[in-house]
Subunit: 303 residues, 2 copies
Amino acid sequence: VIHVAVLGSAAGGGFPQWNCGCLNCAGLRQGTIKAVPRTQECLALTGDNDRWILINASPDIRQQIETFRPLRPQSLRDSPIAAVILTNGDLDHCLGLFSLREWHRMTVYATQQVWHGLMSQNVFFRTLQRFPGQLQWRDLTPGLTQRLDPDGGELWITAFSCPGKVPLHLEGLQASHPEDNIGVRIFDCSERTLVYAPSARDVTPELYAQFQGAQCLFFDGTFWSEHELAGLGIAAQTAADMGHLPIGGDAGSLAMLTDLDVPRRIYIHINNTNPLLRADSPERGLAESAGWEVAHDGLELTL
Amino acid sequence: VIHVAVLGSAAGGGFPQWNCGCLNCAGLRQGTIKAVPRTQECLALTGDNDRWILINASPDIRQQIETFRPLRPQSLRDSPIAAVILTNGDLDHCLGLFSLREWHRMTVYATQQVWHGLMSQNVFFRTLQRFPGQLQWRDLTPGLTQRLDPDGGELWITAFSCPGKVPLHLEGLQASHPEDNIGVRIFDCSERTLVYAPSARDVTPELYAQFQGAQCLFFDGTFWSEHELAGLGIAAQTAADMGHLPIGGDAGSLAMLTDLDVPRRIYIHINNTNPLLRADSPERGLAESAGWEVAHDGLELTL
């Protein structure tokens, strides 16, 4: 059995975003659209309801932990959080690590690219290295299967490369590499499988194959359209420039994954500009008619 | 006129703290003590109700901005936040900078020590340097008076050195320096003065002199007692080890500042373990009898 809780479902910046007054953000603040606030993407999962694993550590993690009761400490100083899996090195996936300080021992699962990109160039991480073994790194080499939480977990993990990009803060410093951005398959002894891929610039045949057979897929729901930011007058970058495949359109993920045989398909990492955030938008209707759900903070499921 | 809003009043980790089950944290979660939650220390101030300055950028800044309406954006992409003053380089004062990304131009006021400690060893800051001038540094050399927010503010600032320490993540890398930790005097044209010193290991005669004549002083309220953490069985470090003068005791700040002629004296940066957090504690009674207030999130005042 895998228990999953969505702690945060928005892309970097959250919903609303601090400096954004777009239709969605302004409408949410004014209460004029059908939408709920969302913190930045972060998943919690467990196989035994005792030790929990996070996928990505969002900047909102402090608020997210207090909101989700099973993650609260049980004694004077402790936490049920045993490990954090990083799907890439983006700030919205890593900043939360620094809020998990104060002498807590944790395992971080990340590819070599992501780990070295973080550790070698940010002295902040010394805060998480106050005693030997405080932060233990496990290499998420794509294709390699390993036990998740070696101290007693019943879950297993295999990473796979996802088309993506280097984090913004490493652009120009570090060449692109297939291990910059990954998805993960997490499964238990009866092979119930969760696939998590919150960021993908394309659905290649190799990626498609990774999704098959899962009971549940979380997929990149950042943008509805390729030119979403330009269309709103916010920025010139396309979805592809930012490492994301849009949901809509002939070449979008809704079309590309239409025949996928996965019972639960859930969009996550949703940007504040995405019309999917409005419960009554035509785009939301299209996604739901095609069998997709839209992740929201507090969504829980059991596989 | 200076308008001040306390966005966050707790020390690093906030209240409750993610991995803490002490009397205060557990009691707050269970509703068995008289206390309110507090996010991590951060002040917002303005002289014109148009452009706002933050003192310190807490990891909770996203939540704090949405809670305090005047900091919300007014157009498609903008923010009333014009500048951030850093009193030191501790993570709980700086991590929030990374949540203020997305092309927003800001001025950062910090000493040379603090600025170089941040910028030279953390590649994350490239996210805030996407165009020339996105982050503009103004040196807060102690004793030097300068205009706050050169683009139109009516407030002035002078920094002063405070006994303190280098940030935890720079310990062993960077020697102590008088500019590691500062307090600031902020005043308008009629010399209404706010003094802000959220972290101080001692009250020297020089420091005492900086407080005189202010209308309002915010001072280090981290710990009540020198051995607070050891007494709770949490950690061996003393208040002094961590760069803080405790409030209580013969040599504490309550005793040392008892004759200070400042109309409003407010403790801030309060650690989750501090009995001051409980509205009915004897310690709270002592502080209030001596004329001190205890900062809480949402406290606003006008000088």
